[in-house]
């Protein structure tokens, strides 16, 4: 009973349960009002940040091949560790995804949204004792703009025509107007480094709350508190240690046996098991990431919109969410945007499973014979099961899908973006514009549905330069409908981020931008004494 009470008190303090409800449930468990109030107060007291302690995280997503060079960040472990030692100009607010200044104090755009001025914060020090200056910021962005730096943020930098230092400011001149520039600069690759990291990109020196102490790629990372850090709302524990644990069971047992405080990527099918373990708290937040089946709309038979529509209607999204992700997901609607994005369209009807309608579209398309769907266990967790499930659902509409399982090694080279119909996944992007320009813009390298529509491109560019929010939302709604009704995307579900920690860990912030509380869990949480 006391465990349930503690749980309720915690939920109440986090605002997931209001005070009244808490007191009601506590009374139902046989507690008198004064005792319940006291419990609530002590839970709230525990919420006040405390400094000190050694935090240990066990995370999947690290390999011996990783580097500390932010340009190369690709998986979770370097990304999370990057948030410990480095900072970007801007970060994305967990509550609504809006940009908040970090190393940039403020910013301003010209009327044509092509010239942006960012005021750089003063009095911030790098770990090597030097002051962070606008010149360092400029050098950082110059390095990421250089194709030879192999930066994952090159796509962000491509729209920048020129940049210069102007006193305490950095001024960007864009090729095309972009109202989202501040959010784009929150990209986790764009950590400001001394002299831009030129010459020593993997030195691990930044302005973050923790200094790099140990860097053993694929094994273990360690960082200690940087005493001269300028913020007091992050960096509570003394040391952060990240252990790379790519095996799910290893992560689970490490958490249960108290060897680590936080783990990421709890598998949906094991959530209910680990939730019952004493002292374990599950953190779940709907993400922008989604699991998809993509069709090349320029390749027969998928060049026929009736066939595409038949397939979109022949998938049972509810069953997908329940079976593949055990309910830890939200239904998709065949466009890559959900309510976690700013300006997300709200009134687009949910597409439902309708075998009869699907059959009639299928008949109209005139197609016959099996349709090959390539899948692999790396396409997304449960992708092989999902493809088989889809096969059975489509069979009810008389559509014959032939599932072909491909080896995981080489899937992203040989199958995805090459074969006309395959399973895949997308991580979220900070903005709708980011998502659409990565995968639906006609010139995008990763246009994995071959969606090439000049009218769509025009809307995309217009929305990008539009500061009027209503007009912008209107444009994004029209674009969503185009992808939903004419595109090659079958989007059954948006997955949740599921992390877990021990009940010692306090101050977890729900952040839909990335897993691990927006990659920032180690710098946001604290430990009780």
């Amino acid at each position: 009973m006391s465990r349930e009470l503690e749980y309720l008190a915690r939920e109440a303090v986090r605002g997931r349960l209001n005070r009244r409800d808490f007191l009601g449930r506590a009374a139902a468990l046989g507690l008198t009002l004064p005792v319940a109030s006291k419990l609530l107060n002590s839970a709230a007291y525990a919420q006040a940040p405390r400094k000190g302690g050694d935090l240990i995280c066990g995370l999947v997503g690290g390999e011996s091949t990783n580097s500390l060079d932010p340009a190369t960040f690709l998986s979770q472990v370097p990304q999370v560790f990057g948030k410990c030692w480095g900072e970007t100009l801007v970060y994305s607010k967990p509550e609504d995804g809006s940009p908040v200044g970090l190393l940039a104090e403020s910013w301003d755009a010209s009327d044509d949204v092509k010239e942006w001025t960012f005021k750089i914060r003063k009095g911030v020090k790098f770990h090597d004792g030097k002051d962070m200056t606008p010149d360092d910021v400029l050098a950082t962005f110059q390095r990421h703009s250089d194709p030879n730096a192999k930066s994952g943020a090159l796509g962000v930098m491509e729209n920048i025509a020129a940049m210069k230092v102007d006193g305490e400011n950095i001024v960007f001149t864009l090729k095309n107007a972009d109202a989202d520039l501040p959010l784009l600069l929150s990209d986790y690759h764009l950590i400001i480094q001394p002299s831009g990291g030129v010459g020593a990109p993997d030195a691990g020196i930044g302005t973050g709350p923790y200094k790099v102490e140990a860097n053993e790629p694929g094994v273990r990372y360690m960082a200690t508190k940087f005493d001269e850090h300028w913020r007091d709302d992050v960096g509570f524990v003394d040391t952060v240690e990240i252990l790379v644990m790519n095996d799910t069971t290893a992560r689970m047992s490490a958490l249960q046996s108290g060897q680590v405080h936080i783990i990421n990527r709890v598998e949906p099918k094991t959530v209910s098991l680990i939730e019952r373990a004493p002292g374990v708290v599950i953190e779940r937040v709907p993400s922008k990431g989604h699991y998809v089946f993509v069709m090349h709309i320029n390749t027969p038979p998928f060049d026929n919109n009736d066939l595409r529509m038949a397939l979109k209607l022949a998938i049972d999204r509810d069953a997908m969410v329940d079976t593949i992700l055990q309910g830890y997901a939200t239904k998709g609607n065949d466009f890559p945007i959900n309510q976690s994005y700013a300006y997300a369209p709200k009134d687009i009807p949910q597409r439902a499973y309708d075998p009869e309608e699907a059959a009639s579209f299928y008949k109209k398309s005139g197609h016959s014979g099996p349709i090959q769907l390539k899948t692999s266990e790396v396409a997304f967790p449960g992708a092989v099961d999902a493809a088989t499930l889809f096969q059975q659902q489509a069979a009810k509409a008389g559509i014959q899908i032939e599932v072909q399982r491909e080896p995981g090694d080489g899937y992203w080279d040989q199958v995805w973006n090459k074969q006309p119909f395959c399973a895949s996944y997308w991580g979220g992007r900070p903005t709708q514009d980011g998502m659409y320009s990565t995968a639906y813009y006609s010139k995008a390298d990763w246009n994995d549905t071959r969606f090439m529509r000049p009218d769509f491109d025009a809307k995309l560019l217009e929305a990008r330069g539009e500061l009027d929010q209503e007009r912008r939302a209107q444009l994004y709604r029209e674009m969503a409908l185009m992808v939903r009704d004419e595109g090659g995307l079958i989007l059954p579900m948006f997955n949740d981020f599921i992390d877990a920690h021990t009940d010692q860990v306090q101050g977890w912030i729900s952040d839909p931008n990335y897993e691990m509380s927006g990659l920032s869990a180690p710098i946001r949480v604290w430990l009780p004494s």
Partner: protein, 342 residues
């Protein structure tokens, strides 16, 4: 008058033939030299095979590094920078030339020095393997001898069942069972074998307790059963009967007379298991998050980091070859008939 054969022949098989290097000198040294030369040749062949293998795998380091994020221009940049646009043969001989001079080069992916990194990982792997071997080898041989001494009793059968079950239990399952029992339920040992630089020897032993135990369970059965079989084989020979008729105790017959003559097959099995402890433990490493060579190599294979894969492959092949040479030599030293080939 009958001439008695020299004393040494009289006692053939009953007295243990201690290796006398003075006597063995010439042919043995020649044989070891031959084995080593063959080993080097084999290593070279292995390096060719590994290189060819990594070329056949789909994709290369550029596409693997960039993953789903690969744009054609980024791929071209990486290939150009790493010299991957040169023909495979040129790249191989480049690598071979440097490797012969002791320079294993830098990793394609994170630009770290390969020799340093492999050194650390190999050290960890050796530490785990050695700890497991120190427990498993004496344990297996003692149990094997005891099983022979009390053969066909309840003790022997119990040992048989026990070792057969540990051998048949997949190592990941054994590992998970140990974690569940000793880490999650009882909390005696850590579930993950994290090695930190600040640890002293005792801490490290404590950290690797569970993976070490898992490995012991996996290898002890095989070695124990082979020891038992080899000794039983020797026990059926005539000289053992002689020893029995002389009135020697069963234990003395087994330890002093049978075991030394059964050494050759046992040494071979031990060498095979030692090699497994070093090169075959990637599953155990993953389960216990132990930073050894196996995981290191798998990471680099999946990233097509050819120089690192080459280096790892060579280290593994060298371990096999060296252990096999040692086993051969030991078997020959222990067996006079092999020592003097006709």
């Amino acid at each position: 008058m009958v001439t008695l054969p020299p004393a040494s022949l009289q006692n053939e098989g009953v007295v243990r033939h201690m290796p006398r290097l003075r006597m063995v000198g010439g042919p043995l040294v020649k044989m070891i030299a031959q084995r080593i030369a063959l080993g080097v040749l084999l290593l070279w062949a292995v390096s060719v095979l590994i290189f060819a293998g990594t070329q056949i795998l789909p994709g290369d380091v550029a596409t693997a590094m960039l993953g789903q994020q690969a744009t054609p221009e980024a791929i071209a940049n990486i290939r150009n920078e790493l010299g991957l646009d040169r023909p495979a043969v040129v790249r191989y001989f480049d690598w071979l030339g440097n490797a012969l001079q002791g320079d294993l080069g830098k990793s394609y992916t994170n630009r770290q020095d390969i020799a340093t990194n492999i050194g650390k990982r190999l050290g960890n792997t050796m530490f785990l393997a050695l700890c497991a071997a120190v427990i498993a080898v004496p344990l297996a041989i003692t149990l094997g001898v005891l099983a022979v001494r009390y053969r066909n009793t309840f003790f022997d059968k119990f040992l048989s069942i026990l070792t057969l079950s540990t051998v048949s239990l997949p190592e990941f399952f054994a590992g998970y069972l140990l974690i569940l029992l000793f880490a999650v339920q009882l909390r005696w040992f850590p579930s993950t074998a994290t090695i930190r630089p600040s640890m002293d020897f005792g801490d490290k032993l404590y950290a690797i307790a569970l993976p070490c135990l898992t490995l012991v369970l996996v290898v002890v059965g095989h070695m124990m059963r082979m020891t038992r079989a080899a000794i039983l084989n020797v026990l059926s020979s005539a000289y053992v009967e002689t020893a029995e008729l002389k009135g020697l105790s069963p234990s003395r017959i087994i330890w002093r007379h049978a075991l030394p003559n059964a050494l050759a097959p046992i040494v071979n099995v031990v060498a095979l298991n030692l090699a497994y402890l070093i090169v075959g433990v990637v599953v155990v490493e993953v389960i216990f998050v132990y930073p050894g060579m196996g995981q290191f190599m798998v990471d680099h294979v999946s990233k097509r980091d050819v120089p690192v894969v080459q280096a790892c492959g060579l280290v593994f092949a060298a371990v096999y070859i060296v252990l096999n040479i040692v086993a051969d030599v030991a078997a020959i030293v222990a067996n006079p008939r092999l020592r003097h080939p006709r």
